[in-house]
Amino acid sequence: MSAYLHGFGAHVPERVVANAELAGRLGRDAEWIEKVSGILERRWAAPEVTVAGMGVAAAEDCLRKAGIAANTLGMLIVASGSGARGFPGPAAEVAARLGLDSTPAIDLPIASAGSLFGLALAMRLAETQGDILVVAAEKMSALIDNDPNTAILFGDGAGAALVSARPGRWRMLDAVLHTDGQYRGDLAFDATGPLRMNGLTVILQAARKIPSSITEVLGRQNISAQQVAIFLLHQANLNLLTRVAKSLGVGPEKMFANVQRYGNTSSASMLIAASEWSETNPAPGPVVFSAFGAGFHWGALVASEG
């Protein structure tokens, strides 16, 4: 099995919501928001903007950068926990708006970890399906109310990655995926909303499970954490990224972070981070993707240049 990452794309809405704007509404000050999350601002989509619309924008950005036409795709995978409908999910609309009328398009309704699960599935399906576009799009601003513990965290946006069996820049080496459904009620959005999160449980579990899944996948490939060039993690909270770095025994500079500017965009965040990182002329070496989210679902994937 050989699969490669050919490129990334991203889209975020124009509207910037700074901490000061939220502070008054939530009864907390801007400094508190920054202290508990590391977030300075996030993007919120306009009411008429949909998950699928942001997903299409990220998909087109990725396809353009990878030099691929949409009609050559063998599969589309769309991760989102904030799609507007119960069914069909946003994959069908993203496919249609990309001009695809018979290409299989799969929804992954996995908040936060959906893009990781999408990449891992694409890695294993690329040889039989051809080029696979993994898209993650979230309109988290539509799911929150005035609970300061959640309202400060989330932002909107979309990311995308092209996976192919054709040789490309980053070879996907291995992935581990896990689910523990006993915590399904600790981070959830029911039909009636709003989003509910037991922050203590989420952080306690994530702080343990993210490093353990990274250690698991790196161990299978005989790669040490210190050898990794960059960690591209779900951008949940800057404090969590710092804690994961400490657990792995690497410096915080190894954790790519843009949560300060976009907030937590759930499943989209890892691919938005990857897109920004890929445009920084990154150094060669192993790259680790990892995410943890509602379910709980979590895991890690390692790729390497060449």
Binding site: G199, L200, T201, V202, I203, L204, Q205, R208, L240
Partner: protein
């Protein structure tokens, strides 16, 4: 197993080290609801307990309620410490 005053004193010191503030006199008091500890201090507290008492807290026991107060931590260790 009854409460262990020595163990509770060691827990009190751990809480103080992680929080950077004195632990509450009331050993039943919630360390989180009182604001002494936040969600990011909890993983540190669990790691400190594992190290101090030479126990491994499995992922299935990573429930904040088990570590919500000094009394609850003591009860957990009474059941799990070797």
């Amino acid at each position: 197993m009854p409460p262990d005053s020595t163990r509770r004193q060691r827990l009190r010191i751990l809480v103080q080290e992680v929080a950077g503030k004195p632990a509450p006199e009331d050993e039943q008091e919630s360390l989180f609801e009182s604001g002494l500890l936040d969600s990011f201090a909890l993983p540190d507290l669990v790691s400190a307990i594992e190290k101090e008492f030479t126990v491994k807290v499995p992922d299935s026991d990573l429930n904040p309620r088990k570590f919500d107060s000094i009394a609850r931590m003591d009860a957990y260790l009474a059941d799990h410490a070797g």
